[in-house]
Amino acid sequence: MSDDLFRYVLRLADDHLILGQRLGEWCGKAPSLEEDLALANIGLDCLGQARALYAYAGKIEGKGRDEDDLAFLRPEREYCNALLVEQPNRDFAWAIARQFYFSAYMLPFWRAMAKSTDDDLRAIAAKAEKEVAYHLRHSAEWVIRLGDGTEESRRRMIEALEELFIYTGELFEMDAVAHAMVSEGVGVDASALRDEWRRTVDGVLAEAHLTAPEAAYDQSGGREGRHTEHLGHLLSELQYMQRAYPGLEW
């Protein structure tokens, strides 16, 4: 039970740390000041959620690892985030599409998690659900604005939505760890969220006069530590300070 719980919480924490890092990359170079603030703020929410989850994961593991050890001192193959969140910021539309797909998933996820039998996860979820409502609204507004905007913004939005679509199926996968957590009343049945996610995505894309993509296949493996080439590069930047100056504190 505690091994599964550790793994389960770690996955959630990794999703949010990695996405937070990707969002932080926009700081100082977003297309407008308001977006600079927005993307950094959303990244900060992700980081805050990740910290609470890492602290809890460290407590479950009981080996004395704290949030920093878990965030900064693991090799790439030990990260178990979904592949979607590690995808790079090719342009603003990519950042928006990635956020939109992820937030449309996390909103019903946290809502279900807020009924977990686990006190810590329930408390984290209660807060995160409301924060994600803002993230989803922000990204959905941009999907519509770009999708129904100029010829170029539309072309880029379509490309980002299509290219990233193959990574969305992984969000709904259920393996032995996830099933064990659901049967304990701790975890969320992710596969049951797919219909609601699809309705949210289709609704927003219809408003943007876009057609929802269909995936020819689903790319997965992140939960077992098999990542795309992008995660290693991200981690080299994320971990640089702790690797170069072990134990450094502010």
């Binding site: 308001e34 603030l37 927005a38 950094a40 703020n41 959303i42 990244g43 900060l44 929410d45 992700c46 980081l47 805050g48 959620q49 910290r51 609470a52 006190d119 810590d120 329930r122 408390a123 984290i124 209660a126 807060k127 995160a128 409301k130 924060e131 409502a133 803002y134 989803l136 609204r137 922000h138 959905a140 507004e141 949210t200 927003v204």
Partner: protein
């Protein structure tokens, strides 16, 4: 749990009350017109028979960078007041929402030029739901959102169409 009420027959409770008052008066580091008690983030202060004080605070927004600073400020305020053995704990449950902000706290925010959060947290559940935010300066409800995300995680940027002033809105959570 909660506030330890002073009890004249039990000196440790008098100290609990004193410790509560000290911690409750600590100002928010980013919006110093409101105190931790106004924001509803000080959950309890206990003083045991040996004089050890445990203050429990709860974080606001997950990404709020002031959380650690607030814990540090509570610690220092209590030490300055003569409490030597002080511990500050962070509690997650029950989760803080903007409904924990007191009526007095909401008025202080408005006086400071920050529109207090609209009540009924459910309003944020509608995907494109717009909430009516009144201008903290002239009271007009004819306002528009400039940016959902502002200078701190808890604020959004608005503009009043009546008096034309831009202002911060303390986001509903």
């Amino acid at each position: 749990m909660g506030v330890v009420v002073a009890d004249a027959l039990n000196p440790s409770n008098v100290r609990s009350r004193r410790a509560w008052d000290v911690a409750a008066a600590v100002p928010d580091p980013e919006i110093p017109v409101v105190t931790l008690a106004d924001l509803g983030i000080l959950r309890s202060v206990e003083c045991d028979d040996d004089g050890a004080v445990t203050a429990r605070v709860t974080p606001t927004y997950s990404g709020c960078p002031a959380t650690q600073l607030i814990e540090q400020m509570v610690l220092e305020a209590l030490k300055r007041d003569g409490f030597d053995n002080v511990r500050v704990e962070s509690v997650m449950s029950p989760a803080w929402t903007t409904d924990w902000i007191s009526a007095e706290g909401r008025e202080k925010l408005r006086d400071f030029g920050i529109a207090p959060p609209v009540k009924a947290s459910n309003s944020i559940r509608a995907l494109f739901g717009e909430t009516a935010v009144s201008c903290p300066l002239c009271g007009s409800e004819d306002t528009e959102r400039i940016s959902e995300f502002g200078s701190t995680p808890c604020k959004a940027l608005y503009r009043c169409r009546t008096c034309l002033e831009p202002f911060d809105y303390f986001k509903c959570l």
